[in-house]
Amino acid sequence: MNKIKSLILSLLISLMFPINVFADKSDDTLVAAFSRELTQLDYHYGTKTEFLILGDMIDSGLFYVNKEDLSYVPDIASDFKIVDDTTIDINLRKNAKFHDGSEVTADDVVYTYNFIVKNEKNRRSKKIKGWLESIEKTGKHSIRFKSKYPYANLFNDLYRIKIRKNGIMGTEGNWNDSAQLNELNGTGPYKVVSFDPGVEVVLVRNDDYYGGPKGMPAIKNVVIRSIPDMGTQQAELMSGGIHWMYNVKKDIGEAMAKTGKADYQLGPSLRVGFLVLDAGGYSGEGNPITKLDVRRAMNHAINRESIAKNLIGGPAKAIHTACNPVVFGCFQDVKKYDYNPDGAKKLLAKAGYPNGFELDLWSYRDKEAAQAMAEDLGKVGIKVNLKHGKLSALNKARKNREIRAYFGTWGSTASPDTATISNIHWRDPAKGDRNLSGDPKVNELMLSAEQTLDVEKRKSLYAQGLKLIADQAYWVPLWSYSEGVLSSKSIDFKLDPDGYPRLWNITWK
């Protein structure tokens, strides 16, 4: 009945006023769109970037990534002291409060980490259990972490765990996983007003927020809508239904900006693209990819500069390392393969493939770039059958060791350290399926760097590892990506150097 009424009403309204009235500056409401659905509110049960953005708006961790220099700074923590290689003392802010008004104390932090480690159903459990030896309360606002080994990426984990109120997730043996899925008592700059899974989440500014490195938010109300289709998002932006959308490609962004209805920014991103090559022969011994000359030929065959400049645009650049040059530890003085199709052909001939060979190239993202690469490889004689599909299908094939080469990307969202990309990609092949190098040395160098606190020593380990990867051409590092954001003329949004959209910093113009 309501629907019929609203139909008649909206018919009448649209007849009288051809342009609909939308939420805007006048009622201090910002509407942002995500292409992926937000299925719940609790970041500990989600893994996608969208959940991280939402998590940062409604929750806080002990640490946070400073947007200016991409360093980790205390958030709910006020200061810290590294006691020894495996011990760190942390003091908490005294003015941090949960959305229900209660104070954040050491008990809450200890409870949160115990919950994370002891309840296996949250998505962070394994990761934290891997290094956390113990956590203890040393005062009302102070705690001590002990780790099992010197753990270099500690602050990233302390940023990703959001603090929960003591007891809110149940008690040991009686955990309540769904306690915070649909409503949330967080500590972040915004509070949840209402949540419709997969449709929208409505937030209101938390006026009791302690500020901290995120700063006080300027806009009172924020609505995040899930709109799966990018075309629909554009249309909504043009007609005033939303103010902000991201992951916008160059062509569309520039065309939208030309209409004068929106601003487009194409800024740097921590995401990189690369080809992983089956040098170890997991997909069949003696396949062409196991030959060094073939892998080097592939490195020479792809015109990365042209693809980065023409297809991706903005600050995107060709890269030569298995990491994004701007993150910590990404040593740059490695062997560089220039674009040289003739050289590539010679190398192929030398390897015994004067007429090239056929190659299944798997990909799941960035179809344009995948096609451009396939065309480049075709020019030197490597006939590519592109297998472009969903990541879950790629992953299955990779698990079954059926993949010879795939086009991967890695986002490193809000974790500016080589450790994030190398941890998953250079693992011991027995424990992970992405390290196809077949070279134990790479695994040793890249992963031991994570268990070293000494900054110079870490850098040197990464340098050796990255040199080896480039020398042996285990990958074809491709390019760094750009992050494109469209925002309406009424808001002021600035992309940060890591491309991570910090929605809570948006202001009205």
Binding site: P18, N20, E120, E236, T420, R427
Partner: protein
């Protein structure tokens, strides 16, 4: 009649079950659900955690029987992707799809019945040709394309309708036209030929020759008889609309069962996909059954 319906119901359920088995094994065979749930930049531990949590490391057969026994205890399973029971997802999403299906069938009726009547009353006239043209066009336009073009014209060039969403019935107008258009050719042709047959039938000719003529005759006798087959075909079309809503709902961002199906497949949310395949099959078969019963009821010759 009761025996007939009961027999058909058994067939319907067993078909649904067969399909759920096929879907389950196919999906589990081809995709890694843990990766799909975790997303592209998930850490290794997170993917492993999910794999263990949902027991993806156990054998497919064991998992199927778990699911199967659950069904008999009234437990449709828990969605991996949405972290909630599948049944509550269905309840949440069904109204949008039902609205869309009903509205699109209304669109079909509004376009095809009058066109069919006018075409039949004036065979080989301009109207008849136009109706044929509309039918041929509607049959050849892919509905994802029609959807995009509709948005381009009626939401942007002339902003009459909203671009996307499902907040009010107004939002359903464009999607209903897109989804309804695909049934227009079949229904219109049936209406036209059916009416032509009746008009040319002896009793109508007799009536005409004995002085009855014009609209009243058409409405009272001819139309009533010609509409009977149309009604049952409309029932079948209504059943089709549920499975057919996948693309339309995605293009217009309507939060119904069709979009849920697509998202669940892409998100490898196997419990949801399975139930949806089952539900779509049952709905389709139910409306076919309904059409059969209607046929039998309306056409005494078929009533055995």
């Amino acid at each position: 009649m009761l025996k007939f319906i009961a027999g058909r119901l058994i067939v319907v359920l067993s078909v649904g079950l067969t399909l759920s088995i096929v879907t389950f094994f196919l999906l589990n065979y081809v995709i890694d659900p843990a990766q799909a749930i975790a997303g592209e930049d998930a850490l290794f531990e997170e993917i492993e955690q999910i794999r263990e949590q949902y027991g993806f490391d156990r054998s497919i057969t064991v998992r199927y029987f778990e699911w199967f026994t659950g069904i008999f205890q009234g437990d449709l399973g828990e969605s991996y992707y949405w972290n909630k029971p599948v049944i509550s997802l269905l309840v949440d999403r069904a109204p949008e799809t039902i609205t869309l299906a009903l509205m699109s069938v209304s669109v079909t009726i509004l376009i095809s019945i009058p066109l069919g009547i006018m075409a039949a009353l004036n065979p080989n006239s301009l109207i008849d040709r136009m109706a044929l043209g509309i039918a041929v066009t509607a049959q050849a336009v892919p509905n994802f394309w029609l959807g995009l073009i509709m948005i381009l014209i009626f939401a942007l060039a002339f902003p009459i309708f909203p671009v996307s969403g499902d907040k009010t019935l107004f939002h359903f107008v464009l999607p209903s036209i897109v989804l309804g258009a695909s049934s227009v050719p079949a229904v219109m042709r049936l209406m036209r030929t059916g009416l032509l047959d009746v008009i040319n039938a002896d009793y109508i000719r007799t009536a005409r020759s004995s002085g009855f003529y014009g609209w009243r005759l058409i409405f009272n006798h001819a139309l009533r008889n010609a509409l009977l087959p149309v009604v049952s075909v409309l029932a079948v079309q209504l059943g089709n609309k549920f499975g057919g809503s996948v693309i339309t709902e995605s293009v217009f961002a309507i939060n119904g069962l069709g979009r849920l199906a697509l998202e669940s497949i892409l998100g490898a949310d196997i419990p949801t996909v399975q139930i949806l395949v089952f539900v779509f099959a049952i709905i389709f078969l139910f409306f076919n059954l309904l059409a059969d019963i209607l046929n039998a009821y309306l056409d005494p010759r078929l009533r055995l």
